[in-house]
Point group: none
Chain length 241, copies 2
DNA sequence: TAATATTTGTGCGTATGTATT
DNA sequence: GAATACATACGCACAAATATT
């Protein structure tokens, strides 16, 4: 009879607690110190167990904050992906949206080019996080030309959606210019926001929205690759050459 | 895997913003509170990042007033430019193409569903590599329904392009159904083919091509994220909702 | 001038991450 | 596994300087 390592037994115990909904998505687990007391083992043994759960995607840790239950991946491993499919046209525009920050500053070179304004001309920078059931889906950074859109800053602060804010600023009709897609690795802060590990693959979408008064938004969206997929609609009559 | 401290990642991000002239000499940075919201970290962590920038002489703080840009950074290591642009419609169909392998086997479940054939029905699997100036661009795996396309195996072996092979098999008119895009991490063999390190971000495109006789190709393409960007063409008349 | 709000500066306690012994 | 040490990070509270009204 082989002896089961302590950390495996502990991992199994916590796994049961999660399965039994004693802890649910977003909850904080007891501290490592508390768990080490409860199970009567060293903190490192607890850490070994939590590491295993982390690799299973069941929990994730935030240094200085605690260990938290990840979104219910176990129950709906496939369905979760399906639910979070994002349409490219709706990229970064899911209903639940958290405003992270808003600032007005000078336009950098690429922003100025995309928005067809002078470098240094004021832009309103919007930082947001798209959520679905508290699970972060995408990180959004958008630049708006301040002089072309009077009152856009207040509109963004008061409206939950970018579309609504643009409408409040007088733009109710705009089209998306060609979208540029590429895969990139998550940096430390992106990983923090999206609840993935540093270096995890992200899908980055860059696009410009244009109305009849000119470009109104230069937006970049980072999607958590593990949890989201973009569906690109294609013209059914289009020919593949 | 080296984990970058958050404060270093934040310092680097702000350093870039200064280098890109988003903030210029004399400007006031957003408040520590605003930055802590934008990056999703505690104010102490922001302060640590700002302290580093202060020690570099890039910024200085005035208690009660704010943090200001001391000087512009002119020299900055420019990131590798994206050298290759691929149109999504041409995904995996660039001129230089290397045939890696060709095999006939039974259809797996997802292939059967996509191609609308029975699981286990014969499919011809095509493994190829897209190149540009000897640099690998994308790894391509396509499945073709063997019974629906008599002679497709020989056609693929003899033709350099998939389009030509399909034409040789009697299909000269097909359309691409909606494409699914997501970011994934490169596994060991993909990394080898694409000349990237294992774990590097890849852009994965999955799509089905349909002709009047039914689905003719279920293809998956992995693009090297560091070297490629997909440009999604949009209907200029399309509305963003 | 005075009151109030904002912003940076500082301290303390606690939690996680990692390395060493 | 156990014990220790240190770096990183969070959360709260409050003081000090500045800005705003």
């Amino acid at each position: 009879m082989t002896k089961t390592p302590l950390w495996q037994a502990i991992a199994e115990s916590v796994r049961r607690d999660i399965a039994d909904k004693r802890y649910t998505a977003g909850d904080k687990l007891p501290t490592e110190a508390a768990l080490s007391g409860r199970f009567g083992v060293n903190r490192h043994t607890i850490r070994r167990a939590l590491k295993a759960l982390g690799e299973e995607g069941l929990v994730f840790a935030r240094r200085g904050a605690g260990v938290f239950i990840a979104s219910d991946v176990t129950e709906y491993p496939i369905g979760r992906r399906v639910r979070f499919h994002q349409n490219l046209r709706a990229a970064g525009r899911s209903p639940a949206k958290k405003l992270l920050a808003l600032e007005t500053r000078g336009a950098a070179q690429p922003e100025a080019e995309a928005l067809r304004i002078d470098p240094g001309a004021p832009v309103v920078a919007y930082f947001g996080l798209s959520l679905s059931d508290d699970a972060p889906i995408a990180l959004v950074v958008s630049a708006f030309p301040a002089e072309r859109l009077p009152g856009i800053s207040d509109a963004l602060a008061q409206n939950t959606s970018i579309t609504a804010a643009l409408a409040a600023a007088g733009v109710d009709d705009y089209t998306r210019a060609s979208t540029r897609l590429t895969a990139v690795a998550a940096d430390a802060t992106q990983a923090l926001h999206l609840h993935v590990v540093e270096g995890a693959p992200l899908l980055r979408s860059q696009s410009v929205n244009i109305s009849d008064i000119g470009p109104v938004e230069y937006g970049t969206t980072w999607f958590a690759g593990e949890r989201t997929a973009l569906i690109v609609e294609e013209d059914p009559d289009a020919q593949v050459r």
